[in-house]
Symmetry: C2
Subunit: 143 residues, 2 copies
């Protein structure tokens, strides 16, 4: 088999309350979206956000995702994954973190120095999904 | 608060067996990586894969991620998220799917027509994380 292009085109997070999730990312963080589309299909209601670099970010009810994938709906687990939001300066970690918390995020680790020489904190979105807001001098955003 | 740039810099998946996970993505799918780095730090061992478009993909033990984030390790749940691998033609879905299965992926839904007018299938990686391999004429890869 030839090697596959290393690619992720969409990251979809399963959510319990789609409107609440869209409110967090759109109203709270300010991310652009057309809102909930596809609601004319059973289990079709979904929201897409176009991110920097061409990646798509989607929010979809956990029950819809489970059904579409052919799996039973599981019990949520916040440590399945972490999404990183890297920034250009340590102080920006604090600003982004405060924005997220003001929007309803739950901090699990307040921003502070990390073992790998950076500065970062973690929060959970309204569905428990984990985000790390990080300053890493070796991984600065390019957008 | 000003809106945040819509950005994900790293997607980290929690895994139970880091070497097995690296073998799946590197040896099985052919994705480039320097292999496991950071093992000199407690809970530091991690593998990074540079994806198209500048996104980083990381594999990190679930226990390390939980500890770093300040959360108890939870019970794995395969329907927390789905990562999509979009391709340029329906037949490519079958090829990519076969490559993943040959590498040890577990199919949950074999490739077939979708309700949104595309062609797609789902599999789980060795740690249960869900991938959708999809042809969507409205979302073709650009890399």
């Amino acid at each position: 088999m030839p090697p596959l292009v290393p690619r992720i085109t969409i990251i979809t997070l399963g959510v319990d309350d789609l409107e609440r999730a869209v409110a967090f990312y759109h109203d709270g963080l300010g991310w652009p979206t057309e809102g909930i589309i596809g609601a004319e299909f059973p289990d079709g209601g979904v929201a897409f956000f176009a991110l920097s670099g061409g990646l798509q970010f989607a929010l979809w009810p956990r029950t819809s995702l489970a059904k579409d994938a052919g799996l039973p709906p599981g019990r949520p687990n916040p440590t399945e994954l972490s999404l990183a939001y890297n920034v250009s300066e340590p102080s920006e970690v604090d600003t982004v973190f405060a924005t997220a918390v003001a929007a309803g995020a739950m901090p699990t680790k307040l921003p502070g120095p990390t073992f790998w020489g950076g500065y970062a904190g973690y929060f959970q979105d309204p569905d428990g999904h984990l985000w790390e807001v990080a300053f890493n001098p070796d991984l600065l955003p390019t957008d």
